[in-house]
Symmetry: C2
Amino acid sequence: MSHQLSPEEISPAGVDFLPGLALDFVIFGFHQNQLKILLLEYRNTGLFALPGGFIRQNENLNDAARRVLAERTSLTDIFLEQFYTFGDLARYDVAPMRAIMEAKGITPTDNHWLLRRFVSVGYYALIDFTKAVPIPDSLSDTCTWYELTALPTLIQDHRLIVQKALETLRADLDRNLTGFNQWAAPLLSDIFTMADLQRLYETILGQPLHRSSFQRKMLSLGILERLDKKYSGGAHKAPYLYRFRTNSPVPIK
Amino acid sequence: MSHQLSPEEISPAGVDFLPGLALDFVIFGFHQNQLKILLLEYRNTGLFALPGGFIRQNENLNDAARRVLAERTSLTDIFLEQFYTFGDLARYDVAPMRAIMEAKGITPTDNHWLLRRFVSVGYYALIDFTKAVPIPDSLSDTCTWYELTALPTLIQDHRLIVQKALETLRADLDRNLTGFNQWAAPLLSDIFTMADLQRLYETILGQPLHRSSFQRKMLSLGILERLDKKYSGGAHKAPYLYRFRTNSPVPIK
DNA sequence: GGCTATTGTCTCATTCTGCGACAATAATAA
DNA sequence: TTATTATTGTCGCAGAATGAGACAATAGCC
């Protein structure tokens, strides 16, 4: 986990937060055949971590997740999915966290609350990375998109968390596709072509898909609405445009 | 959540446990076309709850789950699956918990740690209910199997937790089938017929399945080993016996 | 030795999926 | 205006997967 604290909040006991419980985020960013995730970097330490946060005493768990995500991406009303809760003792190595704090000029006592054990609830999101304005938290220096295929070494068990998030994203893509698009900053533009959608799928699944089978499957999901308009782009046949149905039927498994 | 504490542990601050974090269990029990779950009852209160527990300071989350489950069922080495973490504020209504403690002769202070907010990690298991010896925890009076189709009213959000566990159990049944059987107290007896397996599926999924299609599908999963022996049961053709392969291949989705 | 309920397997129709074919077409170039 | 070209929508086919019934084999019972 990591931290959306203001500097004043670091030294006190973090008393406004639920103790020992954190949130970790795997924020997938898609745009034009690229899949990235958002990472924090701690200068002078060479350490990278997933964005994270804590839960306020009077805040729902899922609301806390939405709040922290908004703080990191400046995007509100994001579609978030909880995917696993990580609670191994081994996952929390105090050395990196101590290095991060000392690089910030803080010398924590041995039982500083940030150096204790945390259980962390993992969430993932999928957004258009051109629409986010990444903002580092108070302990980190940069908050940047990294290609999923070229991630730096991450602290703690964050590599495992990314892996599990990716598996869940892939497995539930059909089911969550509408969700990713019905919020403030949709993943695809409001209207899009079948080719746009296919590029999204291919990038996330990491494999090419056959065009006609893909079209057939997408239409059979019943979540798309075909618009009668056409495109004005390249020197070739104009594709139909689509948008996601509101109140789309939930696909039956 | 609920509690595996000894009476002495109730009044102190539960200092050995991670604060604010609990475990809730949906322990499915199967036997001969019956699907039940394990519930605790608190006498003199009419309240029913899922078994639950807490995590020790120096204990892995999943190990804590295994420990508590062993305490409730006397079964060690159980196959457990984490399925969701529940963190709404509304889920923790203090009134039932206070009633439970007062029925036990304890008068908790307003900020007693058991009356504070808990975030709870949900786990489910699936065992043969004839092999468990249910043991109530220190706050409850009985620990009993209840038919899933006739559950009493549960405290807090426990009905929702059961619902979500059942959905996950059904969705992941193929994938976890070997898991449920390769531990100390297997779900099915060591060797079993295809009809036994079909009854298990029909009971869990809550719908009848076609015999020949079911057989074809089960064999195609590649997790069964057919034994050349035969049965000696009724006045009819003897079925083959099966057992689960060790090192069965993971079914590809 | 016949009877009967259950089992293993086969077959057939239907649906789903992978994959290529082909005509339609929209902008550009000639 | 016409030819060119890349891309698109759809169709068709082969193979796989699935639903559903048919039928012979058989193990114990009377």
